[in-house]
């Protein structure tokens, strides 16, 4: 009698949970088949992983692209010109950075008669945005707002199309390989993702077809093409190279202390590992005195 009751309970709960698992399974299978969002390729970035570091030359090239192309529409307002000199960044010389800063015009309060004053930029100034307000930015861009790019590399990501039961594997894989560069993958895919619109798609006025942009219609025309920006260091100026370089630069803008952080991390981890080992040995010797 007792056991009957339990067998029923056990069977009921088990089938409950099994039913739940089956539902998850079918649900994910259906989704994976339909697909949600475009496929984006994982790239190899100099700054991903345990040993990742920004490549100074690449950041300098990337800055060149930002300055010559993107800066006419996109701000980078969280950066200061002095950041360009900082270690772990593009590491321009002070003179180079100052020359860059001086090209900007910065408002400087008011003069004695109350009129606004202006002066050339200094190293301590923030990057000046191309438009002084959103309305102006929109009216110059067909109603669309070019977002500030200061943290864009961390503000975008994508969904991997894998069957659900492999998802935990990818979570662990990214975690164990210290891979946080999905935002960079997305930017690269976006900048190289301009294609002709499929014939059955009606494009909005002034919109451009892009494979990875959500909804595929983006108000920004393809900003890059091959040989668009001159490289002084002899790197081949292909579209892909341009896209990689500007992406790396934007990644640095989002996370300017990455080099220092990963550097310090190694010391901390080694220190902790040694401490753990010592404590473990101490624990063994203390506990050797008693059975447990």
């Amino acid at each position: 009698m007792k056991t009957d009751c339990l067998t029923i309970l056990r069977a009921a709960t088990l089938s409950f949970t099994l039913a739940g698992a089956v539902a998850v399974f079918t649900g994910s299978a259906a989704l994976a088949a339909g697909g949600e969002g475009p496929h984006i390729e994982r790239q190899d970035w100099s700054y991903n992983g345990f040993f990742g570091k920004y490549n100074k030359a690449q950041l300098q090239r990337g800055f060149g692209i930002y300055k010559e192309v993107c800066s006419s529409c996109h701000g980078l307002k969280l950066l200061s010109y002095r950041n360009l000199v900082q270690k772990g960044g593009p590491e321009f010389s002070k003179e180079e950075a100052l020359a860059i800063a001086k090209e900007a015009t910065v408002s400087d309060g008011f003069d004695d008669s109350g009129d606004p004053k202006e002066r050339p930029g200094k190293l301590s100034d923030r990057f000046q945005s191309p438009f002084s307000n959103d309305q102006m930015a929109r009216s110059a861009n067909n109603g669309a707002l070019p977002p500030d790019l200061s943290v864009i590399a961390k503000a975008r990501t994508y969904h991997r199309h894998v069957p659900w039961y492999t998802e935990p594997y990818y979570w662990l894989y990214d975690m164990a390989t210290a891979y946080e560069e999905k935002g960079s993958d997305y930017l690269y895919a976006l900048l190289t993702g301009y294609k002709d619109a499929p014939s059955d798609m009606t494009m909005g006025d002034g919109m451009h077809y892009n494979e990875v942009f959500p909804g595929h219609q983006i108000a920004m025309a393809a900003p890059l093409s091959s040989e668009m920006v001159d490289y002084e260091d002899g790197t081949k100026p292909t579209l892909e190279q341009h896209a990689k370089d500007i992406t790396a630069f934007l990644a640095w803008a989002s996370e300017p202390h990455l080099n220092a952080r990963k550097d310090l991390g190694k010391r901390v981890m080694i220190y902790l590992a040694i401490l753990a080992l010592l404590l473990y040995l101490a624990k063994l010797s203390v506990w050797a005195r008693v059975k447990h």
Binding site: L6, S150, V151, A178, S254, K291, H292
Partner: protein, 415 residues
Amino acid sequence: MSDHSSSYVPSNGFTRWLDERLPVLRMMHGQFIDFPTPRNLNYFWTFGGILTFCLMVQLITGIILAMHFVAHGDHAFQSVEHIMRDVNWGDLIRYTHAVGASMFFLAAYIHMFRGLYYGSYKSPREILWILGVMIILVMIITAFMGYSLPWGQMSFWAVTVITNLFTAIPFVGESITQWIWGGYSVGDPTLNRLFSLHYLFPFVIAALVGLHIWALHVVGSNNPTGVEVKTEKDTVSFFPFYIIKDGFAVIMFALLFAWFVFYAPNYLGHSDNFIEANPLQTPQHIVPEWYFLPFYAILRAIPDKLFGVIAMILAICVLFVIPWLDTSRIRSVRYRPLYKPFFWLFVITCLALGYLGAKAPEGYYLLASRIFTAYYFIHFLVVMPVVGLYETPKEVPDSIADSVLGKEATSETAQ
């Protein structure tokens, strides 16, 4: 336990003087040096120490962050970026605090499942357990408020979604919600009070932890056998045995912690929170932090908003009464052959709900959330009382010393 005699001997004139006036050192000595602790605790018992470490890390990093943070809708996002870019070591302090929240919950959940597995909530540890449930409740509220502070898209919309739940309260819901907002929508006043309370609540947690440890030291630790301490043979002194073991465990935990802080600080976060809050644009998916996902899944599994909220709150509050729902005569699941599979089913259920909380609540996913939500409650309300009544436990050792040393040895002089 707390009345064991402390072997404290003041070592100099000052401590003797102090001991006659405020025997705080005697108390510390009694509670943290020669406190008798079961000799057979496994590493799951180190998570209480790990949680204390987490709380201290959150307090220290949080207080430093608050020195630079600006609780204003127009400046919060920028001030956080200022911390990340311009404050010395600011990125590490912020990442430690953000990752720390996740680590805190990871440790707390392991700590709780430990309690569930070894029956640590059962008499005489009901108050200890209830204080724990109060701690997790305050932790949830605190973490939620903390996540709102950077005022990114996910911050803003999470606050909007959760505060909107109060509108489900009949009759007065609307007024209460506006009272919480400090206006007609989530805005500056909301952010300010979230910050104020986010600073306050960790100290409430600290106070609750004090009571929690006090309660622990009155009744003493449970142990993997679930058999109460009977004689001195069953225990070892806290120092050096458990100080060193806890210390080792804390450092191992710190290694995992450091991995996230230094190599994957944003891995557990959400990219949308790097977009400044925009009340006019709803993000495509509003997803809470991972540690809330099971509760979020329960909330959305119920078709009615009010009942969804109630179910979500009950999901935690049911824990308050499990000392009385569990009818088993013995504590440890180790000796409960019938209950053991149900326990693991429950663990799977929690993991599944976590997975489902991150998925859109539609089609089969919704169906699965409903099934697992049902089991979540069935486990506590049906399985726990019924199985305990019917189960014949396996043979439980007579004492801790017995289980460690073998029966024969206990009669001899065992250390």
